[in-house]
């Protein structure tokens, strides 16, 4: 029996090993993904994002407990950054999830971002795919501590929960493009802090200045489906004190309501289409990069980089030359 089959039958060690295969992008992993793909599409995938220290892990710990009681099983994928210098990582999200560790209905997997800049790892989507196939009805994805531009989680999940800590900036911060735009639900955590009221107010004033149902996520390939949202979703702004488990139940309700909204508005199908496009595009880039690496080899590449170092050729032109050498048609003889 293969690993994928063992995992489908509930073997947790097989699950964990399978996730490693997929995370490493191994050939076995790709084969397993192909086997599992027909079993996917059933889970509600929820992203938890926000700045470092806003309380994402703590909130997620409480959320997972609520959802476990309601939905039976919960999987958690927690992403932390890799070092750009050594490639190493310290994955510490488990620290705040100690209540969940030995719960047989909860599965937690830490992932390093491995150089991927979007707030999730390159393989986060694939890991989520596996967990979906294995029958987890709810999958929570915690991004790295995200600043303004780490919006890629929106390509992986159905519902984006943005966690803000009080006192993190004025209305102009909230008006900036990026992370704020992808939020389906905004949570002001640590709501017992004195600055919390002001933060909620700023966020509310921002919300009234936005058209309802504004947020969509262009994949860059096709945009023609974008404005078909029939009913708007008004982004709720909730307050929680994650450490005290306050406001968490209301948050689970809002998440469920968002799920219903997606299903009833037709937005769900649109999302699936956008995700599918983003995935195909990502794999295309991956395959293309591999192909390029194989074709270019080391020698020509190194010579051109040397030339750039000596300022004899600019980087864009060097890349164009490499590409040209690779794409030159092979003679048909």
């Amino acid at each position: 029996m293969g690993l994928a089959e063992a995992a489908l039958q509930g073997d947790r060690r097989a699950m964990a090993r399978l996730l490693s295969w997929v995370e490493n992008g191994s050939l076995e992993g790709q084969q397993a993904l192909a086997t599992l793909f027909p079993h996917t599409g059933k889970a509600h995938i929820i992203g938890i994002t926000g700045s470092p220290g806003a309380g994402k892990s703590t909130l997620l710990n409480q959320l997972a407990r609520e959802f476990r009681d309601r939905d039976g099983q919960v999987a958690i994928v927690a992403v932390d950054p890799s070092s750009p210098f050594t490639g190493g990582a310290l994955l510490g999200d488990r620290l705040r999830m100690r209540d969940l560790v030995t719960d047989p209905h909860i599965f937690i997997r830490s992932m390093a971002s491995r150089g991927h800049p979007g707030g999730v790892a390159h393989a986060t989507r694939d890991v989520v795919t596996v967990l979906d196939a294995l029958g987890f009805p709810l999958i929570l994805v915690e991004t790295v501590g995200a600043g303004q531009a780490q919006v890629e989680v929106a390509r992986v999940v159905h519902t984006v929960v943005l966690v803000e800590a009080p006192g993190m900036g004025d209305e102009i911060q909230a008006l900036k493009a990026g992370l704020m735009e992808i939020a389906d639900i905004i949570v002001v955590n640590k709501a017992d802090r004195p600055e919390a009221k002001q933060t909620v107010k700023s966020l509310q004033s921002l919300r009234t200045s936005l058209p309802a149902g504004h947020h969509g996520f262009g994949t860059g390939i096709s945009v023609e489906e974008a404005p078909v949202v029939p009913v708007g979703w008004e982004v709720p702004i909730l307050q929680t004190i994650a450490l005290e488990n306050e406001g968490v139940f209301e948050l689970t309700n809002a998440i469920k309501q968002h799920y219903d909204y997606l299903k009833n508005s037709g937005r769900w199908d649109l999302l699936l289409r956008q995700h599918a496009e983003a995935e195909v595009e990502a794999w295309l880039q991956r395959h293309f990069q591999q192909l390029l690496n194989q074709k270019i080899g080391d020698t020509g590449y190194k010579a051109l980089v040397d030339a750039v170092v000596r300022h004899e050729i600019d980087p864009a032109k060097a890349a164009a030359q490499l590409l040209e050498a690779v794409t030159r048609p092979v003679s048909k003889a």
Partner: protein, 132 residues
């Protein structure tokens, strides 16, 4: 394809001193490994379950309470119960010299006492894992 050595650094038992565990975690991170850090006061079952879910290549236990002769066999038992007999385990902390051999007989691959250079731990892991 991208593979990384994944290490679980855990503190079973009740002592609250995690400086050593953090120093080791940081050193392994700087050596390019992915370190899953569980934090304080883990039960043996929590350590084993985290090792399983994270599919780590090696587990490091930090124990400064003196309870290692009681805790280590229970961690090993929990790991075996989950089919992880083959997973290398090392221990760091305050371990009397006389306890090192008995710990190794239980299945611990290496014991690192106070003052161990972190590079020794890094080398040990690389050797244990081989070419991951």
């Amino acid at each position: 394809m991208e593979r990384k050595i994944r290490v679980l650094i855990a503190k079973p038992g009740l002592d609250g001193h995690d400086r050593g565990a953090k120093v080791v975690a940081r050193a392994l991170r700087d050596a390019g490994m992915e370190v899953i850090y569980t934090g304080l006061r883990q039960t043996p079952a929590m350590v084993a379950e985290a090792a399983l879910q994270e599919d780590v290549n090696v587990v490091g236990l930090s124990i400064l309470s003196g309870a290692h002769m009681g805790l280590v066999p229970r961690v090993i038992e929990e790991m075996n119960r989950r089919g992880m007999e083959d997973l290398p385990l090392f221990v760091g902390g305050i371990i009397p010299v006389d306890d090192i051999e008995p710990l190794k007989e239980m299945g611990v691959r290496e014991v690192f006492g106070p003052g161990t250079d972190t590079s020794v731990v890094v080398e040990f892991i690389r050797r244990e894992i081989g070419s991951v």
